[in-house]
Symmetry: C2
Subunit: 170 residues, 2 copies
C-alpha cells in the first residue's frame, strides 16, 4: 500500500503559494488509517515510551492511538490559553512574528521516555519548541515522529539533537 | 477503576464561574487511558460503524483510536477555515453569538453508519450541529458518545433523536 495515494495536494492553502498536504483521505479510509498507525508504531521499534506528546490540533489524531498501543500516557501540547491547569510556555517563530505553545507542568516526570508526534514536519519550529518544553520538564526525547516530512523545508536540521523519523517524504 | 479519580475540576476556566472538567490526568495515565478507550468501545457494543466523526480539538483525542479499533475511518469536524478541501457548514449558538463548524463534503458516503464522538457533552449545541452535518451528507448516526456528560446542562435533550451514551456523568 502506498500511503501517498491517500494524501491530497491542496494549492494555496492556508495562504497563496502554499501546497498543503491534506491527510483526510488517509484518515477516512479504514485500511490506510490502520496501515499508517502500524507504520508509525514500527518507527518506534521496541523502545520503551512513557509518554506520547501530540501537538495541537492535527498531531492529536494519531498521538493518543500511539500512546494506547505503546502502553504509554498521552500529553497534549496546545496553543496559548487552551490548557486549563498550570503550564510552562515556549515561543516559536512564525513567518511573521511569534506564537506560544504550552504544556501542563505536571504532565511529564523527570527521566520519562517521550515520543513527540505531529502529522507534518515543515520548518521544524513547532516541534523544536515542543522538545524544549519536554526537556524543561525533565523528559528524555526518544524520537520525534511524523506522518509527513517536507524535506525541502529542512525541519530536521532544527531537530538535529534528536532521532527524527517520518513515514512519507516530499 | 473509577475514572472520575482522573478528572480534575478547574474553577473559573475558560471564564469566571465555570468549573471545567480537565481530562489530562486521565490521558497521561496509561492504565486510565486504556480503561477509558475500552469503556468507550463497549458503549458501541457490536454495532457496525463505517466512520467515527471527532470534534475539534479534544474530540480528536479518542476519535481516531475508536475508528482504528472499530475498523472504521476517521473524519474530523473543524471550526471555520481549518479544513483545506470543499466543505459544508453549520452554525451553532454560543452564549453570545454563533460559531461555524465544517466537514469535508466527501468525508461520508450516503448510508454509512456513523459514530459521533466528543470529550464532553455540555449544552449539546456543538454535537447537534455535527449531527446535522453528518445527516446532510447522508450518514446514519448510530450513536453519539462522550467521555463526560454534564447532566445539569441537558445537552441530551438537543440530541433526543439519537442514541446518546456517556462514560461519566456529573
Amino acid at each position: 500500500m502506498d500511503l501517498k495515494d491517500y494524501v491530497r495536494d491542496i494549492r494555496d492553502f492556508p495562504s497563496e503559494g502554499v501546497v498543503f498536504k491534506d491527510i483526510t483521505p488517509l484518515l477516512k479510509n479504514p485500511i490506510a488509517l490502520r496501515f499508517a498507525a502500524e507504520a508509525l508504531l514500527a518507527l518506534v521499534e521496541n523502545q520503551k515510551i512513557n509518554k506520547v506528546v501530540g501537538m495541537e490540533s492535527r498531531g492529536f489524531f494519531f498521538a493518543l492511538l500511539l500512546a494506547s498501543e505503546l502502553k504509554a500516557g498521552f500529553v497534549p501540547v496546545r496553543k496559548s490559553g487552551k490548557l486549563p491547569y498550570k503550564t510552562i510556555k515556549e515561543e516559536y517563530s512564525l513567518e511573521y512574528g511569534t506564537d506560544t505553545l504550552e504544556i501542563h507542568f505536571d504532565s511529564i516526570q523527570k527521566g520519562e521516555k517521550v515520543l513527540v508526534h505531529d502529522d507534518v514536519l515543515a520548518t521544524g519550529g513547532t516541534a523544536a519548541a515542543v522538545c524544549r518544553l519536554v526537556e524543561r520538564l525533565g523528559g528524555e526525547i526518544v524520537q520525534c515522529n511524523f506522518l509527513i516530512e517536507l524535506d525541502f523545508l529542512k525541519g530536521s536540521e532544527k531537530l538535529k539533537d534528536y532521532s527524527v523519523k517520518s513515514l512519507l517524504h516530499y
